[in-house]
C-alpha cells in the first residue's frame, strides 16, 4: 500500500506498507508526518484510513480532514480500538500512536490485521513481530534568518529514513516542509512583543 511519498515508497519492499502485516515506525524524526501523508493518500485513493491517537498528542490546528480520528482515553481502549478497526476489514490503513503494545497485545493486533487484510502501522519502540521497521531521523534543517542573522523560521527539514524488513535494508533522504500555526502574539501594552518592544515603544 503506497504511502504517497515517492522517495519513501522507493525504499519500501513492495512499494509501500505491507497489507495484512504490522509495520513499526520508531518515534520522532518525522514518522508522524510520513504516516499522516500515507493516511491522506489512502483517503485520496477512495479508501478509508483511521488514526488512533493513543497519547492524545494530535494538535487540532494541524489536523487535516480525511482519516477517521480516534482519541481513546486509555492504553486498553486504544489497543481495543485498533483491534476492532483492523478486524472490520473496512480500513485500508490503521495507525496507532502513543501506545506501546505489550507482546500479547501485539499478537492480538497481528491476528486482527491478518484477518482484516489492511495495513497497520504503529509508532513504538517495540518492534516485535513487525514485518517492516522504519527508523527516521532529522538530518538537517533549513532556516530562514531575520535581519540580525538569527534564526526566524524553520522552513524545512531533511529526513533520513531507514527501512528494514526480512532480507531488506534500504534508506533514503528527502526534504519535507515544516508547518507552523498562526501565531497571535502579545496584545497587551505591558508586555514586550516578539521584537522585544513594548506597545508604547511600538507607537513611537
Amino acid at each position: 500500500m503506497p504511502t504517497g511519498v515517492a522517495e519513501l515508497d522507493r525504499v519500501l519492499p513492495g512499494g509501500g506498507f505491507p497489507l495484512g502485516r504490522i509495520s513499526v515506525c520508531e518515534p520522532r524524526g518525522g514518522t508522524t508526518s510520513m504516516l499522516r501523508a500515507a493516511c491522506q493518500n489512502v483517503v485520496a485513493g477512495g479508501h478509508r484510513a483511521a488514526w488512533i491517537d493513543g497519547a492524545r498528542t494530535i494538535c487540532g490546528a494541524f489536523w487535516d480532514d480525511g482519516p477517521l480520528l480516534v482519541r481513546p482515553d486509555s492504553h486498553t481502549h486504544a489497543v481495543r480500538a485498533a483491534d476492532e478497526l483492523l478486524r472490520s476489514g473496512g480500513f485500508q490503513l490503521v495507525v496507532l500512536t502513543g501506545v506501546h503494545a505489550t507482546d500479547p497485545e501485539t499478537m492480538r493486533l497481528m491476528r486482527a490485521v491478518h484477518d482484516g487484510g489492511g495495513a497497520f502501522a504503529t509508532i513504538t519502540q517495540n518492534t516485535t513481530m513487525a514485518a517492516l521497521r522504519l527508523a527516521a531521523q532529522i538530518d538537517g534543517c533549513e532556516w530562514s534568518f531575520d535581519p540580525f542573522g538569527e534564526p526566524a523560521e524553520l522552513e524545512a527539514v531533511h529526513v533520513r529514513v531507514h527501512a528494514r524488513a526480512l532480507g531488506w535494508d534500504k534508506h533514503t533522504t528527502f526534504t519535507i516542509p515544516v508547518r507552523t500555526h498562526e501565531l497571535r502574539l502579545s496584545l497587551e501594552s505591558g508586555l514586550a512583543d516578539r521584537r522585544g518592544l513594548l506597545a508604547s515603544q511600538r507607537r513611537r
Binding site: 498528542t57 490546528a61 502579545s186 512583543d193 516578539r194 522585544g196
Partner: protein
C-alpha cells in the same frame, strides 16, 4: 369495537361532558345526518359494553338522562344503534353489522336528494334491499353518487380509520419476576438479562426493526423500581450488541437493594437502515462492517471518534475543541461523510509536512540559557530522558492574555529549538509572576 353514544340533548351538554381518558370526536360522521349530536368513542381493546354503561352513567351524573349508546364493529351500525336503538346500550354483535343495518329504512341514512326519486322508482325502501344490488347495477341505475350510500347500506363503512387514530403498536418487551429468592450477583442478573434480550431481539428482528433505546427496569426487594435507559448509537436488533451495552451498564450500576425481577422494554425503535449505495463504489462490501465497528467503539468508549473544531485562541492547547465525530449527526456529519466518501478517485494527496504534536500537559524542564541581544535563548534543556543540547533556537514568540482572569492569565515566551539529535521541540518560559519556569510543550514530528 366502535361505540357511538347519541344523547338526545343539546350540544352544550356534550361539550361539558367529563370524559377524561376517553378519546372522543365531537364531530358528526360525514355521511349520516342524525338529529342528535353524536360522540364517537374508541373502545378497541376494552370491554365495549362496560365502557358504554360507564359513559352513560357519567352523562347521567351530568344531567343528561336520555342518552343512548350503540356498540358495533362499524361506525354506521354503531350510529344506527345509538340513534334508533332502545334506551340504554344497544350492542350489535360482531359479524352481524350488515344484517342489523339491513333492517333500517333508507331514510335512516343520509340519502342524496338526486338519488331519492330514483330509489323510489325502482322500489328500494330499506338498506337491505339496496345492499342486495350489485355495485354495477347501482352505478348504472342510480349513478356514482349512490355508491357511498350503497356501501353504508352494506355496513361497509371506511370511516373507522378516519374517526380514530390507529392503535399504537406494542413494542417488544420481556419480563421475569421471581418470588422465592433474590439476586444480588451481577453475573446472575446478566444471565437473566441475556435470556430476556433474546426474546426482545427476536421480536425486533421479526419486525425488521432495530431498537434505539431499551429500558431496563429492575424490581427491587425494597418494593422500589430502578429504571435504566440504555441507548445504542445505531438501531440494532443484535443480542450481542445489547448484551455488551447491558454489561457496561451493570458495571457502573449500584442498586440500593437486591433484585426481585427484571423487565426489558423497547422504548424507541427505527427501521433498520440499509443504505443505497452504488455497486461500483469502492468499499461497498465493507460499509456495514465499518459502520458497525464505529458504532461499537462509540458505544463502548463514548465520544472516541472526534473531529477538531478550532478557534483563534492565542494558546494552541486552548484553540481546539474536540467534538463527537459521529454521534448525534449520523452519516450526514463530517466523519460520516468521510466514512461514506468511497469515490473511486479522491483529491490528490498532500505532500507530508512536519507538524506540531502537543504534550497533553506541558512538561516542566530545566533550561540553560544565554543572552542574545535583548533576550535569553535556551541552549540546553533537561527532561525525563536527560540533557539535550540545542543547536538552533528561533524566538521568542511572546503570547499573553487573560490578565483580568486571575489564575487563567498567561504570558509565555515560546522558542522553536532544534536539538543536536535532530528533534525539533517547542519550549516556552512562563513569564507570569516571579518564577519563570520553563516547559516542554510539544515537538514537531
Amino acid at each position: 369495537m366502535l361505540l357511538s353514544a347519541a344523547p338526545r340533548v343539546c350540544v352544550g351538554g356534550l361539550v361539558g361532558w367529563r370524559a377524561s381518558g376517553l378519546e372522543r370526536k365531537p364531530s358528526s360522521p360525514p355521511a349520516l345526518q342524525p338529529t342528535s349530536p353524536v360522540v364517537w368513542v374508541d373502545s378497541r381493546g376494552l370491554n365495549a359494553r362496560v365502557l358504554a354503561t360507564a359513559l352513560l352513567d357519567l352523562m347521567r351524573d351530568d344531567g343528561i338522562s336520555d342518552a343512548c349508546a350503540g356498540v358495533a364493529s362499524t361506525p354506521v351500525a354503531a350510529q344506527l344503534a345509538a340513534t334508533n336503538g332502545a334506551p340504554g346500550v344497544t350492542v350489535v354483535e360482531p359479524g352481524t353489522d350488515r344484517a342489523y343495518v339491513a333492517l333500517f329504512p333508507l331514510t335512516a341514512l343520509d340519502v342524496p336528494p338526486r338519488v331519492q326519486p330514483l330509489l323510489f322508482g325502482i322500489g328500494v325502501k330499506t338498506c337491505g334491499e339496496l345492499a342486495a344490488l350489485t355495485r354495477e347495477s347501482v352505478e348504472v341505475r342510480l349513478g356514482a353518487d349512490a355508491v357511498p350510500l350503497w356501501k353504508l347500506a352494506r355496513a361497509d363503512d371506511g370511516r373507522a380509520s378516519t374517526l380514530f387514530a390507529p392503535m399504537p403498536r406494542e413494542l417488544p418487551h420481556a419480563t421475569l419476576d421471581w418470588m422465592d429468592y433474590e439476586v444480588s450477583d451481577p453475573a446472575r442478573l446478566l444471565f437473566v438479562i441475556n435470556a430476556l434480550l433474546e426474546n426482545v431481539c427476536d421480536a425486533l428482528a421479526a419486525a425488521g426493526e432495530g431498537a434505539r433505546e431499551i429500558a431496563f427496569e429492575f424490581s427491587l426487594v425494597n418494593r422500589s423500581t430502578h429504571v435504566e435507559y440504555v441507548r445504542s448509537t445505531r438501531p440494532s436488533a443484535s443480542r450481542q450488541a445489547w448484551m455488551r451495552l447491558a454489561r457496561s451498564v451493570l458495571e457502573r450500576l449500584a442498586l440500593p437493594a437486591a433484585v426481585a425481577g427484571v423487565a426489558l422494554r423497547v422504548t424507541r425503535v427505527t427501521d433498520r437502515e440499509e443504505r443505497q449505495t452504488d455497486l461500483f463504489d469502492r468499499g461497498l462490501s465493507t460499509v456495514k462492517a465499518t459502520e458497525d465497528v464505529i458504532a461499537r467503539l462509540i458505544d463502548d468508549q463514548k465520544n472516541v471518534v472526534v473531529l477538531p473544531r478550532n478557534s483563534m485562541h492565542p494558546l494552541l492547547e486552548e484553540r481546539t475543541m474536540w467534538t463527537a465525530g459521529l454521534e448525534g449527526q449520523g452519516a450526514s456529519g463530517p466523519a460520516g461523510k468521510q466514512l461514506h466518501s468511497l469515490r473511486p478517485a479522491g483529491p490528490p494527496a498532500r505532500r507530508p509536512s512536519l507538524t506540531l504534536q502537543l504534550s497533553s500537559l506541558p512538561q516542566e524542564v530545566v533550561v540553560m540559557t544565554v543572552v542574545r541581544r535583548d533576550h535569553f535563548v535556551p541552549v540546553k534543556f533537561r527532561d525525563r530522558t536527560g540533557w539535550h543540547e540545542i543547536v538552533n533556537a528561533a524566538g521568542p514568540d511572546r503570547v499573553s492574555g487573560a490578565k483580568w482572569d486571575g489564575e487563567r492569565a498567561y504570558a509565555r515566551e515560546y522558542f522553536r529549538c532544534v536539538t543536536r539529535d535532530g528533534s525539533v521541540v517547542w519550549l516556552f518560559r512562563s513569564v507570569l509572576g516571579r518564577q519563570h519556569n520553563w516547559y516542554l510543550h510539544g515537538w514537531w514530528d
